[in-house]
Symmetry: C2
Subunit: 251 residues, 2 copies
């Protein structure tokens, strides 16, 4: 990812430097754009100010942890404080730099596709901040879930956050879901890029799923839904645990 | 302007309806994007909360007024309260609708290019909120200034707000100015569009000028710089008055 593509890294670096005019702009491939203010709460919030669903789900994190899409390192730093060994990965060079500067000890420039056994075995894989979305789509999610099965210990867990895309009555979004399905994609399989000032990331697929869709994705991957923590606006965090006998053999 | 193009009208309607997640996204033709929160202050601020430069310049508004680019009607409403007769124009159907609903009595869907003698004679033309930008570029500004000369009374004034584009050390902006000049455009002749949710306005030229550039534009148009009220970040409001003998003959 070149500097001109590292919109996300540039915005968290600017926010950390104290700029108060930092807005994350997400552009969807139908032309829909949305901005949100990227303030201190987005990257520096201490654990006690995290949303309840995230705090409750964190209790299920145990052992050696892989933090997928670590951003500015909020989750990795908290887990380090709780004496977890953490490997944090992100595709944004700027995010890696910020996480390192803020004290994340083992942080690597690596995409979710690059996760393999060379990282060692993990007890928990965390995907906070909607990072279930990095699974991208139905087939890729199943392939990566099988791979995550292999790189986790027997008591392995995945703690991942997503949003039910159908928790809206907005006709613009509902129409987008319909067109996605007509193209053979999942309804909430957003194609987006992040823009910040002169930077724009490459376009990428970002998957939002309902709970039913999630359960369908899990079938045969060796993972089952163990817990759900609901939040506002369709947001929820899931804890996935290994089934007894399935999964991990393919993909 | 179709509904899908009326990004600006849509955002002020949503802001007026009380949505607190309304952000105006401006996209420049070099890919630079910027978002700003469009809160109540942007459209409902009472006169006493306006920036000092605007309040001071308002004292120079007299008689019958043309409000060019009226937006949500903030300036027109204030002038009506002070018993001015006001004609307010905007190219955004949504802005027109909002202004009408908020009480602007004479508000018309009309671009700056459509201003002519059929609107009657004005004592003052106001272009607040950076609306000097609607002059678009050097040649168009001079043509419109000559036309404004003809549609104003002998004591005619223009009260217009702009921003010195060179009041920045940001290399992204300075590079943009350089490339503009290399193409024969003014440094601060931005080519932009406004995006909001699924809406995007057509691309248009929006002109920011330094005070020196402004004086060059005015030469031979029949207008002279009478007052300047400086604000932060290079923002300033000018009062233009008619010269004795020039202008109004061409264009």
């Amino acid at each position: 990812m070149s500097p001109s593509e590292d919109g996300y890294g540039s915005l968290i670096a600017d926010a950390l430097a104290g700029r108060d005019d930092v807005f994350e702009i997400v552009e969807r491939d139908d032309g829909f754009v949305q901005a949100s203010h990227y303030g201190p709460d987005a990257y520096l919030a201490p654990y006690r100010r995290w949303p309840s669903r995230q705090r409750r789900a964190m209790r299920f994190v145990r052992g050696r942890v892989l933090d997928v899409g670590c951003g500015a390192g909020r989750v990795a730093l908290h887990l380090q404080e709780r004496d977890h060994e953490v490997v944090a990965i992100d595709v944004s060079p700027g995010a890696i730099e910020v996480s390192r500067r803020r004290g994340v000890r083992d942080v690597r420039l690596l995409s979710i596709d690059g996760v393999d056994g060379s990282l060692g075995a993990f007890d928990t894989i965390v995907m906070f901040g909607n990072n279930f979305g990095l699974f991208g789509g139905f087939a890729k999610a199943r392939r990566l879930l099988r791979r995550f099965h292999r790189v986790t210990t027997e008591r392995g867990r995945i703690v991942a956050e997503t949003r039910d895309p159908y928790a809206t009555s907005d006709p613009t979004h509902l129409g987008y879901h319909d067109r996605n399905r007509a193209r053979g994609r999942m309804g909430g399989q957003l194609r987006i890029r992040v823009r910040y000032r002169e930077h724009a990331t490459p376009w990428f697929d970002y998957l939002l799923v309902s709970r039913d869709e999630l359960e369908t994705i899990l079938e045969g991957t060796g993972w089952k839904l163990a817990r759900v923590f609901e939040g506002d606006s369709g947001l929820y965090v899931v804890v996935l645990e290994k089934t007894v006998s399935e999964g991990g053999s393919a993909g």
